[in-house]
């Protein structure tokens, strides 16, 4: 049994589900929108087991061989958000989320990707230490609350970009003269500045042992928002050097991930810079443009997972969630 957890219509989830069903795999789609009709019961001993019931269906978590996670923050879903943090609905949603996240870290099933492995993306400079150890270049970086430090760093490196430190998505922007009056605002919160690296953007999806590389051509500083900025973007499948591909695989493995989207830029002098490893890539954006069968690779990775032997549960910690509101 392969468990998918997220929103059924979200394109990566829909693509993986469709491919799994075409392959004839047994799939249980746990729809986040049904969180208030979902019950989770966990038993924790030397193995993590339990049951999930949702919309009249029930699965034994011990039967799950593979898990594909793409949940949103359940508290933001309609029906939960509207009722507020003190409502039974809100508490129930949080409990279901916590139970499933806990189980996803402990189950012997293949998990794409385990929550603890996804977490390095919560701090980009923290993750960058792993990136450097894998042999990639990383840009010179300053994190500061000091406007004067920004000016000095800017004078040294001539062109800077600024971006979020955390996993909260932000638009990478170039620092220019119109930002100068606002520089004093960095005193409110540490802000990350990096030397601008010219070159060609590449997105490399690592799926198990498979590599799907594509080159992105855009005049936007952050190509993900090129359309919003009235800039053009082109995505084409490409090959990357074998040593670069090997580094991508090593990096993803070192982070404990089964799949990832690795953001690279090749500078004019041929150096490969890595900006970030996305542990829950929205791969369909690239797949639709490049034609690469990433969904097929993910589905086959999930389908190939075998049921792993579980030791008998000797003692239990129960974790039950049943919404009564």
């Amino acid at each position: 049994m392969i468990l998918l957890w997220g929103l059924p219509e979200e394109t990566p989830v829909a693509a993986v589900r469709h491919t799994l069903e075409r392959l004839g795999a047994r799939v249980f789609m746990l729809d986040q929108r049904a969180v208030l009709q979902t019950e989770v019961e966990l038993s924790i001993g030397t193995v993590a087991g339990g049951m999930v019931r949702s919309r009249g269906q029930e699965i034994d978590l011990g039967e799950v061989t593979a898990l594909y996670l793409r949940p949103y923050d359940t508290r933001r879903l309609p029906g939960v958000r509207d009722r507020g943090p003190r409502s039974p609905a809100w508490r129930h949603a949080v409990t279901v989320d916590e139970a499933l996240w806990t189980w996803a870290d402990l189950t012997p099933a293949l998990v794409v990707n385990r929550p603890s492995a996804q977490a390095t993306n919560n701090s980009k400079p923290y993750q960058a230490q792993c990136v450097s150890r894998a042999g990639f270049e990383t840009p010179e970086t300053l994190i500061t609350t000091d406007p004067e430090a920004v000016r000095e760093f800017w004078a040294t490196h001539h062109t800077l970009v600024y971006k979020s430190i955390s996993g909260v998505r932000s638009i990478v922007s170039t620092l220019d003269v119109e930002h100068v009056p606002r520089l004093r605002q960095v005193s409110w919160c540490p802000t990350q500045f990096q030397r601008y690296i010219p070159g060609d953007d590449h997105r490399v999806h690592v799926v198990g042992n498979h590599i799907f590389a594509c080159r992105i051509t855009s005049s936007a500083t952050d190509y993900r928002y090129a359309t919003r900025q009235a800039e053009d973007v082109q995505i084409q499948a490409c090959e990357i050097p074998p040593d670069c591909a090997a580094r991508c695989k090593t990096l993803v493995a070192n982070l404990g991930l089964e799949i990832a989207g690795v953001d690279l830029r090749r500078s004019p002098d041929g150096a490969w810079y890595c900006f970030e490893v996305n542990p829950s890539p929205g791969f369909t954006y690239y797949q639709e443009a490049s034609g690469q069968p990433i969904d097929e690779a993910i589905a086959r990775l999930l389908a190939a997972a075998k049921r792993r032997a579980a030791a008998p549960v000797r003692v239990h910690e129960s974790y039950r969630s049943k919404h009564k509101g």
Binding site: L42, I44, G45, T46, A48, T95, E98, T102, D105, L106, P115, S116, A119, T120, N122, S123, K124, P125, Y126, Q127, A128, Q129, S132, T138, E140, T141, L142, I143, T144, T145, D146, P147, A149, S164, I165, S166, G167, V168, S187, W188, C189, P190, T191, R314, V315, H316, E317, S318, Y319, R320
Partner: protein, 236 residues
């Protein structure tokens, strides 16, 4: 200089800072992350500066850190506009995770990607790890309608580096250290159902009460590498 990272409302943190005042111990709170003075050059931590207790300091002057926060809490960012607090808290937490990870001095506990101090495990994960080590795990329920479990004389072992404090049997002390090893932490309290060998695991806490002098002294010894210092609690 010693640094205690904590909520502004943490009385244990304030007590430690008072106790270790002769060592120039200072409290770092969320407010310090909204002050001019932080300069963190990634890859060259020796040239970085920080703000602790409202004052800018060289990161190389910090001799040890005790972290008593899992993350920066948005409700403590009272000087930041309410609409921006969640984002600022995430950014500050992400920054501190990195900053703490690259300090060369002793840090209790080292951060991970999920928590500013230690692994950030939920109690189910602690129970799972204890069970893997062969420690009996008592039944605990989260159901709101369940009766409170009957516990007789629970006993707590507090691991501080190689030492284990508390009135527990030597075998339980070993178990507590093993659990700390499994979590890659050097500061952990582990509560068992009793003090005798064979007692069941009840829960673990990477933020133990550091107020008792033996624990505070053990933490200080850990940070100072075993050196005896007049700031030890109870010292003449």
């Amino acid at each position: 200089m010693l640094v205690v990272i904590a909520s502004i409302n943490d009385p244990i943190a304030r007590a430690l800072v008072g106790l270790w005042a002769p060592l120039d111990c200072r409290l770092l709170t969320a407010a310090d992350l909204s002050r001019v003075g932080w300069r963190c050059y990634v890859g060259t931590p020796s040239s970085s500066t920080a703000v602790v207790g409202g004052r800018m300091v060289d990161a190389s002057d910090i001799d040890g850190v005790v972290t008593r926060l899992p993350s920066v809490l948005e409700h403590e960012l009272v000087r930041i506009a309410p609409a921006d607090r969640a984002y600022a808290a995430a950014e500050m937490s992400a920054f501190l995770t990195f900053w703490l990870s690259q300090l060369g001095c002793p840090v209790l506990n080292r951060p991970t990607a999920t928590c500013l101090a230690g692994p950030g495990w939920r109690r189910e994960r602690w129970a799972y790890e204890a069970a893997l080590l062969g420690i009996p795990v008592g039944t605990v329920s989260r159901r709101a309608d369940s009766a409170p479990p009957v516990r007789t004389q629970p006993a707590t072992a507090t691991v501080v580096g190689p030492r284990c404090l508390g009135q527990v049997s030597p075998s339980l002390a070993v178990r507590a250290r093993q659990l700390a090893d499994a979590a890659s932490v050097d500061l952990l309290s582990v509560t068992f159902s009793g003090r005798q060998s064979g007692a069941a695991f009840l829960h673990a806490d990477p933020w133990p009460d550091l107020a008792p002098p033996p624990v505070a002294n053990a933490v200080l010894d850990y940070i100072l590498g075993g050196a005896v210092h007049p700031a030890r609690a109870g010292a003449p």
